[in-house]
């Protein structure tokens, strides 16, 4: 067994300092003279002392011996001996530190968080880092971040370690491992250290090419949290706000849930959460104006994770859906009449139709230029599809359709007769259609009958046949289809339902086109953003739960709350074994990872003690050393 060794054996030459040490000792040894009345007693004493003392020679040169001992300890410390901490010695060791939301969970009241425990263990490793060993610190939540390269600069590593903060987002181990794998291409290593509570999927789609030392942290305490928050437009015109409370495996007990609208408490409810069960509740909110909701969960007992006790939801103001349908599409206008909350344009008494719409349904290509986030073209091939699809007149029928598509839910299309025949152009196929960003929802005999395209501008449906030349308007499914399109438009307009903002990335914010703003985070840091030509600001990172303010020249323009965590984070469940591709499994390590223990600090301390002893012996203590 290898017990240890020296890291700087080249410093052995320092032992040659023994020669000048002894030389200077004897050259410099000059005793101070002290005149005394008589040597009578001293001479007898010394004779007896030398005779009776077996190490009298040793004692006579004790100062020299202490100095030699001191030098030996210093030289030994310079050789940097170490005590082997583990079975092998890793020169390079990437250290992955999970900093997802669950890592902020406490183990007990006033205890330490998982992340603090992980940082403590990593700090111990840094403290014991040998000069020929290098660590690479990587923190990861839903994205990995390389905090340092491979280095043995302890100060750098400690500073990087201090920077790691909990992000209220789930962790993505796969991404972190891919980053580590990429590191390994330039600076190879054999082992990777992972500090995590195991709150990630047990199956990771990754080809493990190195040894993974999975240091799983001890389970956290019980936790209750909000796992779902959404609102749906009620029939009455208000909003039904749905809240779901879940807990970790061992969490149970009472809690109170309070709903705030624009900062004012409007409802409160006491709940009891049983172990392993979820508690759901519904609050009614008037919804006559746009408002900001905040749900606050207050467990009666200890709650290990505070980040999931708050969720935010922005409710849009209530208004009718503005739908443009030309008067020529009689069947559509009639189908719309049966749906509440619709304002159709042009109106029956006027041909005027201007402004922005929520939904445009038309069989005229020029109407597709109207501003709307949801559009349905009927009976013509959109210009960007003309290269792939052409319209024939031989008639067609439905072969299949995407029953799971929201727009086709509860729509029966079997035996539908279509007089038009959309068909793929020569040499083109469905793959080309997909490359153009379109998705076929209804398949005809020779080509798609209904396609959908969704992007940042909204969603566009294109019925490649005219419904007036088909049996669709006579089918029960037609008004359902129209209602589904309206529902899609409502969703695009944000009028149908509202979902709580999750942490990670803020939802797109509609501001002034081209405007420059500052996003103020809950930690009061600011980040500059610029709205695009449509006034949309998207992709704003929201790693922490709380309110994010949009500032323009220091003035708050808008506040957006983000606080809903992943249910898996709230559950605090941790996997004991990670399964990788090719059925490779990595279980949590049974032993705490140990670095090589450097002995030089101890040797330096011993040298200091020797030096102090020498000082005490020869300078301070009147009676000498006993």
């Amino acid at each position: 067994m290898n017990w240890g060794g020296f890291q700087a054996l080249s410093h052995l030459w320092l032992l040659s300092l023994l020669a000048p040490l002894a030389l200077f000792y004897f050259l410099k040894l000059k005793r101070p003279r002290a005149e005394i009345p008589s040597l009578v007693l001293w001479r007898q004493v010394l004779q007896d002392h030398r005779v009776n003392s077996p190490f009298q020679k040793f004692k006579r040169n004790l100062l020299l011996l202490l100095q030699i001992l001191l030098l030996l300890f210093l030289v030994l410390a310079a050789l940097q001996p170490f005590w082997r901490g583990g079975p092998g010695k890793n020169r390079r060791l990437p250290v992955l530190v999970d900093c997802s939301a669950s890592m902020g969970a406490l183990d007990k009241p006033d205890g330490v968080s998982h992340l603090a425990e992980a940082k403590r263990r990593v700090r111990e490793m840094i403290d014991g880092l040998a000069s020929d060993q290098e660590l690479c610190l990587i923190s990861f939540d839903n994205t990995p971040r390389k905090l340092t390269g491979f280095t043995n600069d302890k100060r750098l590593l400690r500073d990087a370690l201090d920077q790691i903060q909990v992000a209220d987002v789930p962790s993505d181990l796969e991404e972190a491992l891919r980053l580590v794998q990429a590191l390994g291409r330039s600076e190879p290593f054999d082992e990777v250290l992972l500090f995590s509570d195991g709150n990630f999927p047990p199956r990771v789609n990754f080809d493990l090419s190195f040894k993974l030392n999975y240091q799983r942290l001890s389970p956290a305490g019980p936790n209750l949290g909000i796992t779902a928050l959404s609102a749906q437009r009620a029939v009455t015109g208000g909003w039904d706000v749905f809240v779901q409370i879940e807990g970790s495996a061992d969490a149970e007990g009472n809690a109170s849930v309070e709903l705030f609208e624009d900062g004012n408490s409007i409802a409160s409810e006491r709940i009891t959460v049983a172990r392993g069960r979820a508690q759901r509740m519904v609050f009614q909110v008037k919804g006559d104006h746009a408002s900001s909701l905040r749900v606050q969960l207050t467990p009666d007992g200890f709650d290990s994770l505070a980040a999931d006790n708050m969720a935010y939801l922005d409710l849009p103001g209530s208004r009718p859906l503005r739908v443009f349908v030309p008067k020529s599409l009689v069947t559509y206008r009639r189908a719309l009449q049966g749906i509440r909350g619709i304002q159709s344009f042009p109106q029956e008494t006027s041909d005027e139709a201007s402004g922005a719409f929520d939904l445009v349904m038309s069989d005229r290509p020029q109407d597709m230029d109207l501003v709307a986030r949801t559009k349905l073209s009927v009976g013509f091939i959109p210009p960007e599809l003309e290269r792939f699809v052409e319209l024939g007149t031989n008639g067609s029928s439905v072969v299949d359709w995407r029953r799971d598509a929201p727009v086709l839910q509860h729509v029966q299309l079997a035996d539908l007769m279509v007089l038009d025949q959309p068909r793929f152009a020569a040499g083109e196929g469905e793959g080309d259609l997909e490359n153009a960003g379109y998705e076929a929802l209804i398949y005809g005999q020779r080509g798609p009958l209904l396609v959908r395209k969704q992007d940042s501008d909204g969603v566009r449906f294109a019925l490649l046949f005219h419904t007036d030349r088909s049996t669709l308007p006579y089918r029960v499914g037609f008004p359902i289809f129209v209602a589904n399109v309206v529902q899609a438009a409502l969703e695009q307009a944000g009028l149908a339902e509202a979902l709580a903002n999750r942490t990670g990335v803020l939802p797109p914010l509609t501001l002034a086109p081209g405007g420059r703003y500052q996003i103020q985070t809950p930690e009061q840091t600011t980040e500059p953003v610029t709205a695009d030509d449509h006034g949309i600001v998207s992709g704003v990172a929201a790693p922490r739960a709380g309110f994010y303010s949009v500032l323009e020249n220091g003035v708050t323009r808008r506040r957006v709350g983000a606080g809903l965590l992943s249910p898996s984070e709230t559950s605090l469940a941790g996997v004991a074994q990670i399964e990788f591709n090719e059925q490779l499994q990595v279980a949590e390590a049974s032993a705490v990872v140990k670095m090589d223990w450097p002995l030089w600090p101890t040797l330096l301390m011993v040298a200091l003690v020797v030096m102090l002893a020498e000082w005490w012996f020869f300078q301070k203590k009147p009676g000498g050393w006993k």
Partner: protein, 301 residues
């Protein structure tokens, strides 16, 4: 006003108050060693003093003047009255004035102590002589025997003039002293008794000469508790010989053992010759030595 004027100091060695107290004290030797010459000390032998001692049977040839005729009248047998004999006692003062006594006031204590013994001797009508030893081989400085209050000034002048110098060993000084001295009594030796010589022989000679040794060993505080905190080269003040020592608790403990052993040996030497021995520190005030230690131990009364 004249009555309040302080008396002039008789000597620098002892204050007038100490001298006043010394007038009421006398030396109390362990044995009764006196000279045959008449003095004030009762000898163990019968004498012609007025102080009755005992009766004894008359022997032919006895002086009939001492027959107690009253008893002869009652008992019809002659008994001789015996009287105490008052003999003279010598007080010999030997002051070690070698260089080693100059340290830390050892000689400054030795001189008043010797003077005090001299004063007590003179005031009690004893013959007092004083000797000081300086250089090895030289005869000690000597104050011839004298007696009576009138000799006080002579005594003080002799002792005041003593200076510490030389390397005279004490044993040799005793031998030289005995060459000049005759008479029985006590020999007060004030010294540090740090000598390489054989004190046993000297003390035997003292005893044989009829002098009861009364040794007062004066050691300085540094000699009692030496402060050796590092490597030192010790230099003998008399011989200039050197000795290297290193700080060590064992060494200091051994030193204390030896110092205590020397005290015990000296005490034994004196006691076996019916003498006394007292170790004192040079830091001790002379009044404390005289009226506390010496008095408590019965040296003076």
């Amino acid at each position: 006003m004249e009555l309040l004027t302080p008396r002039p100091q008789m000597t620098t060695l002892l204050t007038n108050s100490v001298l006043d107290r010394l007038q009421r004290l006398r030396i109390r030797p362990a044995g009764k060693r006196t000279s045959r010459s008449r003095g004030e000390h009762l000898s163990g032998k019968g004498g012609t003093s007025t102080e009755f001692c005992d009766y004894r049977d008359y022997s032919p040839g006895d002086d009939t003047r001492f027959v107690d005729w009253n008893i002869f009248a009652r008992l019809h047998r002659p008994y001789l009255k015996q009287f105490h004999k008052e003999e003279e006692r010598h007080v010999v003062l030997l002051i070690d004035a070698s260089a080693s006594m100059k340290f830390e006031g050892k000689l400054d204590l030795a001189k008043p102590l010797a003077a005090a013994f001299g004063v007590m001797g003179l005031l009690n009508n004893e013959r007092v002589s004083a000797y000081t030893s300086h250089q090895a081989g030289d005869a000690p400085d000597r104050m011839p025997p004298c007696r009576g209050r009138a000799s006080l000034r002579t005594l003080f002048q002799f002792i005041e003039s003593v200076e510490g110098r030389g390397d005279a060993p004490l044993d040799r000084a005793v031998e030289l002293l005995l060459r000049h001295h005759s008479g029985r009594g006590v020999c007060v030796i004030v010294s540090d008794f740090l000598t390489f010589g054989d004190l046993k022989r000297s003390f035997n000679m003292l005893f044989a000469a009829g002098l009861e040794p009364m040794g007062i060993q004066i050691l300085s505080p540094q000699e009692i508790e030496p402060d050796v905190t590092s490597d030192l080269r010790l230099v003998d003040s008399e011989t200039q010989e050197t000795l290297d020592v290193s700080s060590s608790a064992d060494l200091l403990n051994l030193y204390q053992e030896y110092r205590q052993g020397l005290e015990n040996d000296l005490a034994l030497l004196c006691r076996r010759r019916q003498g006394r021995f007292l170790p004192v520190s040079s830091a001790t005030p002379v009044e404390s030595v005289l009226f506390d230690q010496l008095r408590r131990q019965g040296w003076i009364e």
